[in-house]
Symmetry: C2
Subunit: 352 residues, 2 copies
Amino acid sequence: MSAERLAVLTEGLFDDYHAKTAHGVIRYGTRDVAAVVDSTQAGRTAAEVVPFCQKPVPIVATIAEAVERGANTLLIGVAPTGGQLDASWRALVLEAIDRGLDVEAGLHTILADDPEFSSAAEHHGVKLRDLRLVPADLGVPRGPDARRPGVRVVHSVGSDVAIGKKAVTVELDAAARARGINSVYVPTGQTGVAIAGWGIAVDHVLADYVAGAAERLVDEGSERGELLFVEGQGSLFHPAYSAVTLGLLHGSSPDLLVLAHRAGATHFSGYPDVAIPALPDLIKAYEGITRPLRPARVAAVALNTSGIASDDEARVAIAEVQEETGLPVDDLVRFGANRVLDAVLTAFERPD
Amino acid sequence: MSAERLAVLTEGLFDDYHAKTAHGVIRYGTRDVAAVVDSTQAGRTAAEVVPFCQKPVPIVATIAEAVERGANTLLIGVAPTGGQLDASWRALVLEAIDRGLDVEAGLHTILADDPEFSSAAEHHGVKLRDLRLVPADLGVPRGPDARRPGVRVVHSVGSDVAIGKKAVTVELDAAARARGINSVYVPTGQTGVAIAGWGIAVDHVLADYVAGAAERLVDEGSERGELLFVEGQGSLFHPAYSAVTLGLLHGSSPDLLVLAHRAGATHFSGYPDVAIPALPDLIKAYEGITRPLRPARVAAVALNTSGIASDDEARVAIAEVQEETGLPVDDLVRFGANRVLDAVLTAFERPD
């Protein structure tokens, strides 16, 4: 993976919400990004168009220009509604293949199942990589104590979906690496897989194999480092997605948890009639559901304050949650990950 | 479905454990069974060969004889290791299609994906039904309060896998119907689907859609009756299968739970190092995990005493669990379902 240089294709959509895969890969990715391909924004940098994308990645108009800048892999950087590949993009994908680029996508349209793409890829000797495709040989896990000795696992769970569990996990990993710790971000969703260049989108696994997929991710993470930050999915009480949450929790078998929560959130996303439990109850529930397998305490709360305009008010919200839970609390995106990382590392020192 | 008459194919295996689908359908099925097809046991009845199969279903040597007895659907009654269709059985399946029978199977080999089977079926105008195939249009559930008013749901959860949750669920439904209650057994696994002739094998659903599949089963059950007994899968703390368990629990959104347990069991099946929590803790955990969505109490414990030789000793084991949990306890297969059914119906009368 180390030799990959990405051209991130967002043609016409780089400043749009649907380009979240592109934004995540530029902001958090560990792979080099040679260029964004978007003719409507060409000549600017990623950070000029989307401030969230802090890196000065150039935006170019064509795949040819991205290749000139050293790109060897085209990443489809958008997740369109429905997950289908837009018909107008077929020519761009074929052009990339013709120019010898590998192609990577997290679409429901499986690139390798497309006869035109697969025969072109074979002809040009390039790889088609479908980020949502899960390994064919998944099975049940070996069990909660099966992993390599010395490896420690921190799992980011949440009170709801879409509150920044991925960002929290990536920020913790980056802060740990900045301190010289041999840590790893373990991606469990398609955007995470695109960011890190490896992983499994566990929500696309057969229900019987979620825990097995989570254990495999820990095994693979253990080849890459010793402190694993495993991205969470869903929420333990989410009416639709709790199955994925629990399979990931039991299969990754963490030592510690970090609970992500959006400041002020009271009800589940998509289920306005279903209340999110009070944080102290939620913390007890997460700790209780891990106990018979491998007990894991919640070490800290990661509070998403993006809906609060001023830093001062965000600090008030953080202090309130700290009072409510008795745990260290911070917004890792707004104020940095060090405080929560300190809480995690301190928790490892304490006896249970 | 009412006009179906089954020929249950077990050729050479009727007295074998692998014929468990045949055994379940004969013992618990609501569809007529015209005959078992097994040339090695022909001339006897099902109950003579496998006492567990209490009905005097004739065993015949050929599909032709089953058709003479009115069979119009061939059910593959074995679940071979690996789930593949044995090559020597192809001719039997094709013969059934030639004779105008629909064919039903719970194999990993999908009948309809086999060009020879599907073209023969088209030619003869018969249906191929794959019990493991899940609906293509599954999605997320509407939520815990979305179901038809007046419908009540009882869900059989368990302390482990393979301890008789299906049998408990079927026995409760049969006992309720015997009392004139408009009840329904809601199947959630492939054998259950074969028994009832409808349902979804929820462990073969994508993890994101388990809860949605469970809600759909409740919707479909609500078309068939008012008191639904939803079969459980896995266990809340099973290292491999807890994802399926929780998705089914949250998606079916029960009013009451019945906890199945095997007398004397201390560790999880397949995970000899992982202890099953004490029953009072397990009951608290199941009740706690339902509370934020739709609170459900455990109304009774269904104790599997099949490993205990004498009825007297089984009664001692039952009394011990009753003492430990403070709940009504019985072995529904050994002593009948009435005691646990009474506990369920009484619990519906009590306020929470």
